[in-house]
């Protein structure tokens, strides 16, 4: 995938392209960059936290799974804002996923001691999660979040408040 000058930013209102070695030390940079980009939309602080977690999970998956033999390969993060929608595409050129539906199941993991929660968190914190993958062809995860619909729900922040903590027993 290469970007020509004419297609940048293309039909999007804004676009960011970031390519990094898929290593754990780059996780913080990746999610902070996307959050800073997403902050141009009228998203709540909570929305931006959600985006950070989802990006962290998707990039962690690349680090953990994509390049088992190379040790390290590239992860490409393309974020766009189009008509009030944030879209983050996280791609690798790694080994791909044989059974995407199975990989997205809660608690499914190929690594002992891991929780298999990556996709659960992505799906809960974003409006839409798409996965395009095939063995040997790499994986692209697309995360979408729409601005300001959260405001109508209200109550979201309240339900995270003090009543959440269980009383000491």
């Amino acid at each position: 995938m290469s970007v020509s000058p004419l297609s940048f930013p293309g039909d999007a209102d804004n676009r960011m392209l970031l390519e990094l070695p898929a290593r754990a030390a780059n996780l913080s940079l990746a999610r902070a960059s996307v959050a800073a980009f997403a902050a141009q939309l009228p998203l709540t602080v909570e929305d931006l936290e959600d985006v950070k977690v989802a990006v962290s999970e998707a990039v962690s998956n690349v680090i953990l799974h994509a390049y088992p033999h190379l040790g390290e390969g590239p992860v490409r993060i393309e974020a766009t804002i189009r008509a009030g929608v944030l879209e983050v595409a996280i791609s690798d050129t790694g080994k791909g996923i044989a059974d995407v539906a199975r990989a997205r199941q809660p608690a499914f993991t190929t690594i002992p001691d891991r929780m298999g929660l990556g996709f659960v968190l992505m799906e809960n914190f974003m409006d839409e999660v798409l996965v395009d993958s095939a063995p040997g062809r790499g994986t692209t995860v697309i995360l979408r979040k729409t601005a300001s619909h959260r405001d109508e729900q209200g109550g979201c922040a309240d339900s995270d408040g003090s009543n959440s903590s269980q009383p000491p027993v």
Partner: protein, 136 residues
């Protein structure tokens, strides 16, 4: 970036964590807590997360792993002071139903100091029925 500090309060290892907990930093927290647990012989573990600004599934895994370690030797574990964003991840993952959450480190320390034999009994029951968080 992650900062981990620990001290012993009575029977409890109090660990204060500050920064971001992810795939990069969680292994360091795990190593430090495990080393302190075995050096000090502390029975209970209280994780003060008031300084944690970010948590994802890698951090959750490290937290749940410490819960299993502490429970296996009959101790109890609590989490104190988690911020809203961190609390949401703990709640969504179900971890807040397995590990007790306290609003402050003081309430957590007091509560853990009161849990002794009872916790050991509960940990045995949890192991027996396979409830010790395996479903997460």
């Amino acid at each position: 970036m992650l900062e981990v500090n620990s001290e012993i309060v009575g029977n409890t290892l109090l660990v204060s964590v500050a920064g971001e907990l992810d795939l990069d930093t969680a292994p360091r927290m795990r190593t430090l807590i495990d080393a302190r647990l075995s050096h000090t012989g502390a029975r209970h573990l209280l994780l003060d997360m008031s300084g944690v600004s970010f948590l994802d599934s890698s951090g959750l895994g490290a937290i749940l792993g410490r819960y299993r370690t502490v429970s296996a030797s009959g101790g109890a574990m609590g989490i104190a002071g988690a911020r809203t964003a961190v609390k949401r991840v703990l709640r969504l993952s179900g971890v807040s139903q397995i590990i007790r959450m306290y609003t402050s480190r003081d309430t957590g320390l007091k509560a853990l100091a009161r849990r002794r034999g009872r916790q050991a009994k509960r940990a045995r029951q949890d192991r027996g029925s396979g409830v010790a968080g395996d479903e997460c």
